[in-house]
């Protein structure tokens, strides 16, 4: 399972480099709106230079095979653009964690265990219903619910920071349930590694 996830991650990164993988609409990870100025497409020379991996300068960790892991070498912004973490989704006006949420967090916890130095900011987000003021607190409760569960899975609390963006930064721009369900989320943002 873990190996499969890693293969998926690698293929995602490579796929994005070649710009061939277009996610179907049914993917559980919503596509972020494209940034208007920055195109994450690396130059061909970058791609070829990736084929023979550069000598690892990271201090070797006996439990991790460093040389074959592009996530280890990628910068934070790049990892967040093709995040290995899946968001935890919530029901309307709720911070309760359902079975899907728990299994998502288990997978995310595995990644955090694998990359033991990573620090994550858990962003709580809400859909546009409810008042903007109420959503500031609701987003906080969502982020904290995820943090508490992640800690129960063995992730150190000081590797999990929380912030609520309320309904200020919707991921999906629409005004229907399809958009709302993506916007009711706790988002895993890598902030240090």
């Amino acid at each position: 399972m873990r190996r499969l996830a890693l293969v998926l991650m690698v293929s995602l990164l490579v796929g994005s480099a070649a710009c061939v993988k277009k996610q179907p609409a049914a993917t559980p990870t919503p596509q972020p709106p494209p940034a208007p100025t920055t195109t994450p497409r690396p130059t061909p020379s970058t791609v070829t230079s990736n084929v023979p991996p550069p000598p690892p300068v990271i201090p070797p960790d006996p439990s991790i095979s460093v040389t074959s892991d592009p996530l280890m070498a990628a910068d934070i912004e790049k990892i967040n653009k093709q995040s290995p973490f899946k968001p935890v989704l919530f029901a309307y006006d709720s911070d309760a964690l359902d079975d899907v949420a728990r299994s998502t967090m288990s997978a995310n916890a595995e990644i955090m265990k694998k990359y033991g130095t990573w620090v994550i900011t858990l962003e709580g987000h809400c859909d546009e219903r409810g008042t903007a003021e109420y959503n500031l607190a609701l987003g906080d409760r969502r982020a904290l619910a995820v943090k508490n569960y992640m800690v129960s899975l063995g992730i150190a609390a000081d590797r999990l920071k929380t912030v609520s963006y309320g309904s200020e930064f919707p991921f999906a721009p629409g005004h229907d349930e399809e958009a709302w369900k993506q916007n009711r989320r706790a988002h895993f943002m890598l902030t240090a590694k």
Binding site: E77, T121, G130, A132, A137, D140, S164, F169, P170
Partner: protein, 467 residues
């Protein structure tokens, strides 16, 4: 003071018919007659004013343009408060201009219904302009008598609008005993310049939102902050001389920034633990304290209303006894002795009032869900009413504890900000498409005006009167 404002509201005209110059509401909606709107229907008591062009001896185009701007803006300012009937300049275009009150063609003006005629003259000396204005009576035996006269120095060619606003405020004060709001401003949040802010460290979140300022009539919109993150919940201090707002730090929760709008760095008077968020500041009417919504009480996701001195001392939780509910969105009573706020302690959001020390909590809203109260100088509290069908601005009059809906249900309407004279409510609406700042008059819910057009806009705050 309150009584005089109330009296002025009591006679404000209720018929859109006579106010031909006022911008029509974008959507005609049936008005439910209320006690107030019926008593408003008293057109006889409103002075009718005609306007002569402002006389300019100079032939320079920019000076003449400034004179035109001043008159146009003045007329718009007077129409905004609905205390005068303005006679359209087109209707009076054929009346010959007079250079002295006695030479005004009285009968021509009275044919149009005018009781007063505005006369003005403007002179310019190296960019500075002086405007002399008069209101002259044109009806009755004392026609030609000056009813209002004032000279305005210190205006500039760069900002003729401000000159007009000063004239309008004086005319409202002297002729109608009304505190006009022509020199007030609004602060708000907008994402309109987000494309210039794409360096935000969060690639798949939305763009940055900054604080903007504008004149009360939507003119002069300009950005105040530029930190490429999220800045919301601006609130003015007394006299419009300070502004507080919540600003998100990089990858962290928001803290309250307080600026004196003088170019010096903002301070962080409510700063707490790094994990805690501070939001929705409300500066006390005397400017000494800031009430705000904070999670400093514990990492539970439940917020409280806190208060802190402007210099950061004496920070304390005013609602510590409700650990499993959120209290927030504070707003001060005009005398600074009470605070209204939102709490979901009953299961859904409602508006409560407490003494400024946290004692004496009582609930004042009961219908559906209510949030973001704004306490007006006219002894009412406006708030967002959230119903299954959408959000509207509602008002509870504190004397009679009577609640009613102010906006008309078109689009989503929320986050009210009340003008310092209590006669207008700015709010966020989707009725024009994106989220825009609009205004509607209180108490009759008439005269919708759109103030913003660019980007999405939210969190309006209306400045107090300049003192």
């Amino acid at each position: 003071m309150h009584r005089s404002i109330l009296a002025a509201v009591g006679v404000a005209c209720g018929t859109g018919l006579v106010l031909a110059q006022a911008p029509p509401p974008p959507q005609q909606t049936p008005q439910r007659p209320t006690e107030l709107s019926i008593t408003l229907d008293n057109p006889g008591s409103h002075p009718k004013i005609g306007f002569q062009a402002i006389e300019v001896s100079d032939s320079r185009a920019d000076v003449r343009a400034a004179a035109e701007t001043i008159l146009d803006v003045l007329i718009a300012d007077l129409e905004f408060e609905r205390e005068f009937y303005t006679i359209g300049r087109k209707a009076s275009a054929g009346i010959p201009a007079a250079s002295t009150p006695q030479s005004l063609p009285f009968s021509r003006w009275t044919e149009l219904g005018a009781q007063f005629v505005f006369m003005g003259s403007l002179r310019e000396i190296s960019g500075k302009i002086t405007v002399d204005v008069r209101l002259i009576k044109v009806q009755g035996g004392d026609a030609g008598r000056q009813d209002f006269g004032q000279s305005y120095g210190g205006c500039t060619l760069d900002n003729p609008r401000y000159c007009a606003h000063a004239i309008a405020d004086d005319i409202h004060k002297q002729k109608r005993n009304l505190d006009g709001v022509a020199r007030t401003r609004l602060a708000f949040t907008s994402d309109r310049d987000a494309e210039a802010s794409t360096s935000r460290q969060m690639p798949d979140a939305g763009p940055g939102k900054e604080i903007y300022l504008m004149d009360y009539d939507g003119a002069g919109q300009r950005r105040l902050t530029f930190n490429r993150n999220l800045n919301i919940g601006a609130n003015w201090g007394p006299g419009g001389r300070m502004l507080a707002y919540a600003s998100f730090l990089a990858n962290g929760p928001a803290d309250i920034l307080l600026t004196l709008l003088d170019g010096r760095p903002a301070t962080r008077p409510a700063r707490g633990p790094d994990w805690a968020a501070n939001h929705l500041p409300a500066i006390s009417p005397d400017g000494t304290k800031i009430a705000f919504m904070s999670s400093q009480g514990g990492q539970t996701g439940y917020y409280d209303v806190w208060v802190v001195n402007r210099d950061g001392t004496n920070m304390r939780n005013l609602t510590p006894n409700t650990p499993r509910s959120s209290e927030g969105a504070p707003t001060w009573s005009p005398n600074g002795q009470s605070i209204a706020f939102t709490s979901d302690r009953t299961g859904t959001n409602h508006v409560f009032i407490m003494n400024a020390d946290g004692t004496g909590v009582r609930r004042i809203t009961f219908a559906e869900k209510c949030d973001r109260p704004t306490w007006s100088a006219l002894n009412f509290i406006a708030y967002t009413l959230e119903r299954p069908g959408g959000k509207d601005i509602a008002v509870t009059e504190l004397g009679r504890m009577e609640a009613r809906v102010l906006t008309d249900g078109l689009g989503s309407n929320e986050q009210p900000a009340v003008a310092p004279n209590g006669r207008h409510v700015a709010f966020v609406t989707t009725r024009f498409g994106k989220r825009q700042i609009a205004m509607v008059d209180y108490p009759d819910g008439k005269f919708y005006r759109q103030l913003t057009t660019a980007g999405n806009n939210s969190y309006p705050s209306w400045s107090p009167l300049a003192k």
